[in-house]
């Protein structure tokens, strides 16, 4: 039955390593490709996502969205980016200047570092760290530092309230997210992201494992929506309450970085979600149906990854344009009284499943 394709995983870091004995320049080229590629990817992705968000929001709301810049407003994000980059950059007089300047970069850095380990397809991955899951949970914490620093340094009460909210919220929800990740780690037995993807060749973790997968998928989705500060959990910048929250005092390019970081984070949590629960670039396989699996394999893995990630991004946007915002204490209640206990029970159940080998499909 093991007739499924053997996926050759090769990251850019590996290529660089392989090329090193032959030519230092080729190796350096690979590294440069990785860095520039990641940077360009982030910038482009941000623009695409912002455009998509505006268009999708518009169609949820019976309107058209950007229409007048290029065909159906396709150049809208370019115009926005250009404008924001050239706008005056104001640092308030009483702000903590240094912190005010570095906060947006901290925010973006967290997002950029995570991009590096995401397995987008077997051949498209910058670095395949063997503790990938741990790395992701660690690095995504950098973002909250950016928010806290931004709110603190702005010397604005609204900013401060927003930052404190963001801090409390993200630190809390990180727990649930990590618990949900641990379930997958337990099931697949590895922390390496590419290995986790390969372990789903027989079926995605969301289906397998007697419902444990789907519960942790939902927990992870909720927790990650909260982590990236989007409605219904966007209390950190909640427009109607805190003017603009932690980035009230930011303008121009630095504001654009916050904006970008928000959307990149959305991509990252969607990508992580699809990697861990929906099989990443792994095509949709059903047990022994070799013919069906063969057809599924014809679709390139990169497309599978993009499709799954887009679906979750759409889901997150859908949430945003439907739901009202939760209150800060309700948010905490949801985390500490509901998600965290369920997460623990779920983790326990997953441990039992792994211990007694209770899979739908034999491993």
């Amino acid at each position: 039955m093991n007739e499924t394709t053997v996926w050759q995983v090769k990251t850019i870091a590996q290529r660089a390593q392989e090329a090193l004995p032959d030519s230092v320049w080729l190796s350096a080229g690979y590294i440069a490709l990785g860095l520039v590629g990641a940077g360009a990817f982030v910038a482009l992705l941000g623009m695409v996502l912002i455009y998509a968000e505006r268009k999708i929001a518009a169609h949820f709301q019976c309107r058209m969205g950007p229409m007048r810049v290029g065909w159906h407003g396709i150049l809208q994000s370019i115009a926005d980016t250009l404008k924001l980059l050239l706008k005056e950059d104001i640092v308030p007089e009483n702000a903590d200047k240094l912190l005010h300047l570095i906060a947006p970069f901290l925010c973006l850095l967290g997002a950029l570092l995570t991009i590096a380990v995401l397995p987008m397809s077997p051949t498209l991955q910058v670095a395949d760290v063997n503790i990938g899951v741990l790395y992701i949970s660690a690095v995504s914490g950098l973002g909250v530092l950016g928010l806290l620093v931004a709110g603190w340094s702005s010397n604005n009460k609204w900013s401060l309230i927003g930052a404190m909210r963001a801090g409390a919220q993200i630190v809390s929800y990180e727990l649930s997210a990590t618990l949900a990740l641990l379930v997958v780690v337990l099931l697949s037995g590895t922390l390496q992201l590419s290995k986790i993807v390969e372990s789903q060749a027989q079926g995605w973790w969301i289906w397998r494992a007697h419902g444990v997968g789907i519960v942790s998928f939902i927990i992870f989705l909720i927790a990650s929506v909260a982590e990236i500060n989007r409605t219904p959990f966007d209390i950190a910048e909640g427009e109607s309450e805190l003017t603009a929250g932690f980035h009230t005092e930011y303008s121009g390019m630095r504001f654009a970085f916050f904006f970008l970081a928000e959307f990149i984070n959305m991509f990252i949590v969607s990508a992580v979600c699809s990697t861990l629960f929906l099989g990443g670039w792994m095509p949709f396989h059903i047990g022994n149906l070799a013919g069906f699996n063969g057809i599924m394999d014809l679709i390139p893995p990169g497309l599978w990854f993009a499709g799954k990630t887009s679906f979750i991004i759409f889901l997150i946007m859908w949430f945003r344009w439907t739901f009202p915002r939760l209150r800060v204490d309700q948010l905490m209640k949801l985390e500490w009284k509901l998600l965290l206990p369920i997460g623990f029970v779920n983790l326990f159940a997953a441990a039992v499943i792994v211990l007694y080998n209770l899979y739908f499909f034999p491993k």
Binding site: I56, F60, C62, M64, W321, T322
Partner: protein, 221 residues
């Protein structure tokens, strides 16, 4: 009447488990509503101004701009009686009259309408005994300079249409009429006057900044 007890019966409290699932289903239902609109592009109700500029029609009674209709001969009906000026709540209308050289009767010289302070209350149109004024729906009035919002509505200074109709000799008629298009005198502006104002009944194309077809299409770099 006393304070009424509410008519609605109190609903039974829902248990925590049922409440949880009820909450989830309410969320899903809400998402269903938005999704319904997302997948039905026909529900988009947007009218695309300025692309639909040709077909866009304002209602007949739209009160967006005051005008003084001129008939096919180019004559208006205003006699310069100042009734609209009195009716105007904030003096957006200034009627400057003059004495006719031959008949010595009062007639209109300038009908100055200040769009910048007009409230479009329609009182001037209603009170006019000669129906010389009309509101219409030309909504494209933006300008760069506030003083360009001061309009001179009459295109000629002279007797009203009925009085002109009595004059049979066309030459005589012409002698009674002085062309008016641009007003460039003192304009009452918030109590202070600023010279050099070109108000426009029919503005020269160079004066009034019009958005052209090219502007509407927009341009890419």
């Amino acid at each position: 009447m006393t304070m009424q007890t509410p008519t609605k019966p109190a609903k039974k409290p829902v248990g925590p488990i049922r409440g949880f699932f009820k909450g989830i289903s309410s969320l899903l239902k809400g998402m269903g509503v938005t999704f319904k609109y997302f997948v039905h592009p026909s529900t988009v109700v947007t009218q695309q101004y300025p692309e639909n500029r040709e077909t866009l029609k304002m209602p007949d009674r739209a009160r967006i701009r005051l005008s003084m209709p001129h008939d096919e001969n180019g004559y208006h009906k205003c006699t310069g009686c100042h009734i609209c000026e009195d009716a105007c709540p904030n003096r957006s209308i200034t009627v400057v009259d003059r004495k006719n050289a031959t008949t010595k009767r009062q007639e209109i010289d300038h009908f100055i309408w200040r769009m910048d302070s007009c409230t479009f209350c329609n009182l001037c149109v209603v009170v006019c005994p000669f129906t010389a004024l009309k509101m219409h729906g030309d909504f494209e009035n933006s300008v760069y300079d506030r003083r360009l919002l001061i309009y001179n509505l009459n295109r000629y200074a002279g007797p009203a249409a009925p009085a002109l109709a009595k004059i049979e000799d066309p030459e005589e008629r012409k002698r009674n009429i002085d062309e008016r298009g641009v007003y460039s005198g003192l304009i009452p502006m918030n109590g202070s006057a600023i010279a050099g104002v070109r108000a426009c009944g029919k503005p020269p194309e160079s004066e009034k900044v019009r958005v052209t077809e090219d502007d509407i299409k927009g341009e890419s770099p």
